[in-house]
């Protein structure tokens, strides 16, 4: 009987598929997020590339002379920060809202609910990849230089995506039930943005604030993403370890929260 198969008798691969859905489903859902968003626009994916630019230009215009003097290669410093942050905030919110946006499918199809948050992050990862490639291509024009350290960029991107998935996935079932969760998350992300060294160097901060910024997991993740592009250097082993630890912890917590709420998800759609 399907409902009474002991868990131990199910192969691990099949168990993963039953939790997250097939790779085909995840690929299609992620592709849909990208296609539907840009299908009716003439510039298509160019919009995705253009999105972080206004903020980056404003930050550069306002802070170049003051904060910029403390950081060598301030343009790439700010651009990496803005690209990173736009991925984090967009992915967390898209993951958080993924269950609401797929109410119809959740109501009517037996697909695993976890497929929707995962697909939302995969779509974000696609945009981040596109932005990162553009950043690397224009690196010499921006005053930087390509280096072998850039090969570490995908690892930093994956760690950041894992962190965003854990955070958004853990909150998604609550956002489905309580509209306040989405609003509160948006507000909190706005605050966290200032506690992440997107456009300033942590050395300018007074010691108390510097400690807060230092404790922020996104500071470490941003550092792993930024260093290969901005400094042409690999992050240290301890930075990698810290980033991987935060990402794994966030994924585990988010996943367990999601699983604990999963049986009730379809009653709320």
């Amino acid at each position: 009987m399907q409902d009474h198969t002991p868990e131990s008798a199910v192969p691990p691969g099949a168990r993963l598929l039953s939790i997250f859905g097939s790779p085909g489903l995840l690929w299609f859902l992620a592709r849909r997020e990208v296609i539907v968003r840009y299908r009716s626009s003439a510039l298509g994916l160019m919009w995705s590339l253009a999105q972080p630019l206004p903020l980056a230009l404003v930050l550069l215009a306002v802070f170049s002379s003051s904060l910029g003097s403390r950081v060598e290669g301030y343009v790439t410093y700010v651009l990496t920060g803005v690209v990173f942050w736009s991925f984090v905030s967009h992915s967390v919110l898209a993951t958080l809202n993924s269950l609401q946006r797929n109410r119809g499918a959740l109501r009517n199809a037996p697909a695993p609910a976890a497929a929707f948050p995962v697909a939302a992050v995969l779509a974000g990862l696609f945009h981040l990849t596109l932005s990162s490639i553009t950043l690397v291509v224009f690196l010499p024009a921006l005053g930087g230089a390509a280096s072998p350290a850039l090969l570490a960029l995908p690892v930093a991107m994956l760690l950041t995506a894992t962190f965003a998935l854990g955070l958004g996935m853990g909150l998604a079932p609550f956002a489905l039930r309580y509209a306040d969760v989405g609003e509160a998350t948006q507000l909190t992300l706005g605050v966290i943005a200032y506690a992440t060294p997107i456009f300033y160097h942590p050395s300018i901060l007074p010691p108390r604030l510097a400690t807060i910024v230092d404790l922020n997991p996104l500071t470490t993740l941003l550092s792993c993403f930024r260093q290969p592009v901005h400094a042409g250097a690999l992050p240290s082993i301890s930075q990698w370890g810290e980033a991987a630890g935060w990402s794994a912890a966030m994924l585990v917590v988010g996943f367990l929260l999601f699983r604990s709420q999963e049986p009730g998800i379809r009653s709320h759609v």
Partner: protein, 256 residues
């Protein structure tokens, strides 16, 4: 459970926690934590429902609006866990729940065939292999490149049904979807259902109208307020359902 039974429900009850609309859910959760009587009220959509469906059978479920038909189908599909009782199912289920349910209206017909197939657990190859069959069965070939938001309700049903019956399944679940099909399409559906039943599939069909169920199902279940009021040969159940509906209509008219 007998050897050939594909589905067995035993004393299945389903409770919804219905929240008050005049309070935001978070406020309600906080209030119910402080005083449990302030919490969402309980509503039993299904009460001690038992049902068995054997291989090759076609069973209808009839009842008025709010009788619990859709809840029953969602429990059978495994979308909602029962609050009490047990659901035992064998093999693969092909659900067609609601009209256009699960479709993304911004995608075109071909993309929705892929989406629905994947959501039902089919592989990319299985879907590609059956796409032309689905297009042919639905009769929508020339519209499949258009966004589905341009489709009529009837077209949504055609495509949904074609996807649901494209692959052999052990149990086909259809909720209300056949109510809007035209006579020609219903005849094609009937033919395909008979074909699948001969291959061993079972059908559980939910509808408001006796005529829809009568066309497909020799056996029928009558649900009212979440309870099974009658089960047996469709003609007999319809007669009791119609008598009750008449009585209720008379009572309502009397009240007015």
């Amino acid at each position: 459970m007998s050897e050939e039974a594909l589905l067995r429900l035993e004393d299945v009850s389903l409770e919804y926690r219905v929240r008050r609309t005049d309070r935001p859910p978070l406020k309600e959760a906080a209030l119910s934590w402080l005083r449990p009587t302030n919490g969402p009220r309980s509503m039993w959509a299904l009460r001690n429902v038992s049902l068995s469906v054997a291989r090759g059978e076609a069973v209808g479920v009839i009842g008025a609006n709010g009788a619990g038909k859709t809840s029953l189908v969602r429990v059978v599909a495994g979308l909602l866990p029962p609050t009490r009782g047990s659901v035992r199912r064998r093999g693969r289920i092909a659900p067609l729940l609601g009209i256009g349910g699960g479709f993304d209206l911004e995608l075109d017909g071909y993309e929705n065939i892929m989406l629905s197939g994947l959501l039902q657990g089919r592989s990319l190859r299985e879907i590609r292999d059956r796409t032309e069959w689905i297009a042919g069965f639905s009769g929508l070939q020339e519209f499949l490149r258009c966004p589905m938001r341009t489709y009529s309700t009837g077209m949504l049903v055609r495509l949904g049904f074609a996807i649901a019956v494209a692959w052999p399944a052990d149990l086909i679940l259809v909720d209300e979807a056949l109510a809007v099909g035209d006579a020609g399409f219903l005849a094609r559906c009937r033919q395909r259902i008979d074909e699948l039943r001969r291959e061993g599939s079972a059908l559980l069909l939910v509808a408001h109208h006796a005529a829809t169920i009568g066309a497909f199902c020799p056996r029928c279940l009558w649900l009212d307020d979440g309870r099974v009021l009658a089960e047996g040969p469709s003609a007999e159940v319809f007669a009791r359902f119609a008598a009750s509906a008449g009585t209720r209509a008379d009572l309502t008219a009397g009240r007015c």
